[in-house]
Symmetry: C2
Subunit: 632 residues, 2 copies
Amino acid sequence: MMNSTISLPEINLQKSRPSLHTPLHVYLEKLLDELRDQDDGAMANYIPELAKANPDWFGISICTADGEVYEAGDSDVPFTIQSMSKPLVYGQALDERSVETVMRRVGVEPSGEAFNSISLHPKTNCPLNPMINAGAITVTGLIQGSSEERRFQRIASKFGDFMGRRPELDVSVFESESATGHRNRAIAHMLRNFDLLEDPVEESLNVYFRQCSLLVNCRDLSVIGATLANSGVNPVTGIRALKDRHVPLVLSVMTSCGMYDFAGSWFYYAGIPAKSGVSGGIIGVLPGRLGIGVYSPRLDEMGNSVRGVKAITEVSRKFGLHLFNSPFAAGSVIRTSTFLGQTTSRQVRPASEARAIRQHGQRVRVMELQGDMRFSSLELLQRDTQADIDAGRHLLLDLRLVRRMDSGSLQMWTLIIRAAAAAGVRIGLSGLESESRLQQHLAHLADRVDLSHVMVFNDLDSALEWFEDDLLRKLAPDTTTDYLSHETALGDMLGNIGLNPTQCGRLEAVAQQHAYAIHEVICEQGARSDRVYFLAKGMVSVRLQTRSGASPRLAAFHAGMSFGELALIDGGTRSSSVIAESTCIVYELELSALEEVFEAEPEIKILLLTHFASDLARRLRQANREIAALVG
Amino acid sequence: MMNSTISLPEINLQKSRPSLHTPLHVYLEKLLDELRDQDDGAMANYIPELAKANPDWFGISICTADGEVYEAGDSDVPFTIQSMSKPLVYGQALDERSVETVMRRVGVEPSGEAFNSISLHPKTNCPLNPMINAGAITVTGLIQGSSEERRFQRIASKFGDFMGRRPELDVSVFESESATGHRNRAIAHMLRNFDLLEDPVEESLNVYFRQCSLLVNCRDLSVIGATLANSGVNPVTGIRALKDRHVPLVLSVMTSCGMYDFAGSWFYYAGIPAKSGVSGGIIGVLPGRLGIGVYSPRLDEMGNSVRGVKAITEVSRKFGLHLFNSPFAAGSVIRTSTFLGQTTSRQVRPASEARAIRQHGQRVRVMELQGDMRFSSLELLQRDTQADIDAGRHLLLDLRLVRRMDSGSLQMWTLIIRAAAAAGVRIGLSGLESESRLQQHLAHLADRVDLSHVMVFNDLDSALEWFEDDLLRKLAPDTTTDYLSHETALGDMLGNIGLNPTQCGRLEAVAQQHAYAIHEVICEQGARSDRVYFLAKGMVSVRLQTRSGASPRLAAFHAGMSFGELALIDGGTRSSSVIAESTCIVYELELSALEEVFEAEPEIKILLLTHFASDLARRLRQANREIAALVG
């Protein structure tokens, strides 16, 4: 036999924060080591103060779209944000002023020229895009505020939302930029000439110089990237930094214009929307997935960090992060597709009803959906349900395993719902989370579309039961037993099991009749199993009390059926609770009284045991079928 | 009672092709109607032959990445492919010549100039990108072939792979282009000057003119797009048109340079990599999802189809198809996370063993994974398993619900496997499809990494059983019963149930002993239930024969246990098969013989029924626990 007193070394069961040596941390450290001997490139010299950085500094940080940060190397060394401020302020301008207002002043076409070119569009006189200085200065001029200081504070505060901490100003870099920024001053006055900047020009220019001189580190860059990857919400703090609908626009200009004259090649090789700055940093964004920040001050001819470009490109290559890299098709949005009767509710039904449901179940398609709902997954669904809709078959769609829905998928739901209405087909939806996007969408839709054919159920089990009942009503509207009002005599129930009238009489003599109100507990999980029950009227459900608070329904019984049979078989305690789902009348047979009856007539025990074992066997078979269906 | 003879209107059960009026078809028709009155723009006139098209033609087609086509309007009107040929021939050149060779001649930076500009890079003298004519003519010059005709045929054949049918040449457009293509002729000679084209120049130019004059329709454009969306494999024909690894590169140049001077704005608003042609067509590609083709000949100033741009932008807006539109985070890659003992194998074990497994099960983490495996999902996995690995806990990972793995995720698997090895932790993997990418990756990895800690199982059930057995062996190495060699006497088994020696003797007298070889069927699904079995030696499994050919294991029994009890309870036929999993010795008690014994001593029947019912109840409880775990 098992000797369970032998004990093994103890396991540390504390739920701890992941340590700082996950496989990904180890990989990033190794990557930096491999690239550290790359010392090509030169320090930026057009802003004298920038040349003072240590050229060997090298850091990398990845922040996932759910806020987990992986850092390696000099990831906390501060440097000025420089041009990496441009997409953030561009986003801020879109949020504050509207896309139309901003687009009237700054285009979104790549310039094919250097970052400090003036590049105004020959016809409109507008800067070609917001990632060149002319465009960025114009965009900064759009940020609202009654003074230079206020406008700067608004920008710094916005950067704080993106980073999760308030950035400080590097005064010496700011003064150095301001003192030597003749070209930017020329650009600003040209912009004033075309009424793209308002007076005083020097004020907007100062805000721009200060915005570029805010201090960040590598970790901040990755969090900024993750905020853009997470639809504009900083995943570490939960604070929204940019409106959802403007995120694709900011990422689009980063894609086409973010890496100076290297934008095309960058996207070709790395495939990650990014923005670099002359201080040596790069912010990369993989939408929905992660932000990545690198810092290494030596720059190539186009003004991008040499080791930074190599590091992100290598991470992208290694892990296949190119945005266009073999993406997966929507695939199997439909997890199972059966008919009513093949998938059954946990309502235990008389054999004749169960047979009728199996026989006519092809009137209802039952589909379990899974995964994320986007246009492509709904396209598959509408394609696969078309034959059902054409055949006039109702649809029962379970969405319990559906994770997220985007707005495009809601438009497809509308199309499917309309098609079903036109064909006179019901759509049952189960497993929707409350306040889900689809629930809200249905509420909006109800104002302008007739949704009387759409039914929403808590879970698949209750949806199946409704469709089964509906089918039975249609099959035999007059003959279906009304279990809730009809009362079955104990003698009839025992007779059905095979007891003769004398045997019935013996049990009737010791039975106790009890009435229960709806929702009352008839027997409780964990209580002693000391009696068996015969349900004379009403409905009960067998429910498992779980630690999570959920109480899934294991079975349901209606008048004429028995439960609690384990009292007779192995005693012990109840493994689940039985709850009255309506007003109920129950006959209860206590074990002590039964034992006396059995002593007098063992045949009664054999008949009861055979009945209960048969019942258990049937339920086990059904459970096995259900498991087989669940595991596909 | 149910009257199952009442019949409902018949359902058409034929599995039919989806009809041509799915909700998406209906939507596309409506979209064309809404945009039909847009008659801005002008017909291309620089190739006289193009001006002969009907300016009102308007068609749209969507082809999904799995090859379903939705068409509306003039989707079968032929027109010449023009500049939409450029990404296809660029991909062909990458396939035939290598990325390095092609990149030495043509860059990938947007030009910021018109499509017919010469745009050579000031330093390298190379065309800036392959979507302007200078770049495209250079790329066509790279296609191999011993004559003009052969090179053209190679290109036409490649287009056939993309489209799924061989395109024809519009001779009059070709002659018109050739006769009037002075600017392209100038470009070609300039390219020859820089040794980017070889002699004879006129030959390359003619191939280029012919390539542009191949006839396609809207449907073809969508299939070409879907081929690019489907990693280079035409999803309708299954033929590969472009190497997997070159697809991201082609899509990258389409993204940065595909829509002439409108590329930045196009991506900003529509967010779909695309290429337009002067004949009025546009190919759009949503990687992993779909291709879209539109055709309407009136062009805007930049040479893009006016209604085409509007149609794709509207489809993108409506269904949220912008590539950067609120993408979903990787989300719940971990479907369930439990310990051994919370999730159990179907091996039916004595109570003491089951208790020991529950008690010490925290030595093994059991996780069911789901969804697509990419870098982000594996990042989550390595994060969540780090505490387990730190605690020296083994990992059992079930991959049955995992759909696809990309190459980046395989690199992450390597990192996790190495971390587990370093910590001395086992990794069990179950549910991998044979020939899966991970299986192949493990085979490659085995050459350079010690994989003795990695174990691959067919399914979660057998993996759980192995880890349970392993745990029991470690807990009590000397005392665990060896069920395969040990033989249990029938009397001992009956005694354990509670029969006294006399009662045991009565059953022993009628029992028949049988031996079975491994894999032999002991009782077969569908056969008559006419006996119960007591297993004296060996192991058996209970399996369900399904229509799909799979035979999931419902339970497993070892020596000392009984099965086939339904014979005694409700007769009928066997609902599953029992297979010998080793050499077995079985005592079989026929129903007819049992009935005689019961007549003499009803108490024996009561004891057997109670035993069997108790067994059924225990298995039902376990099945219910399993269902509760499966439905989350």
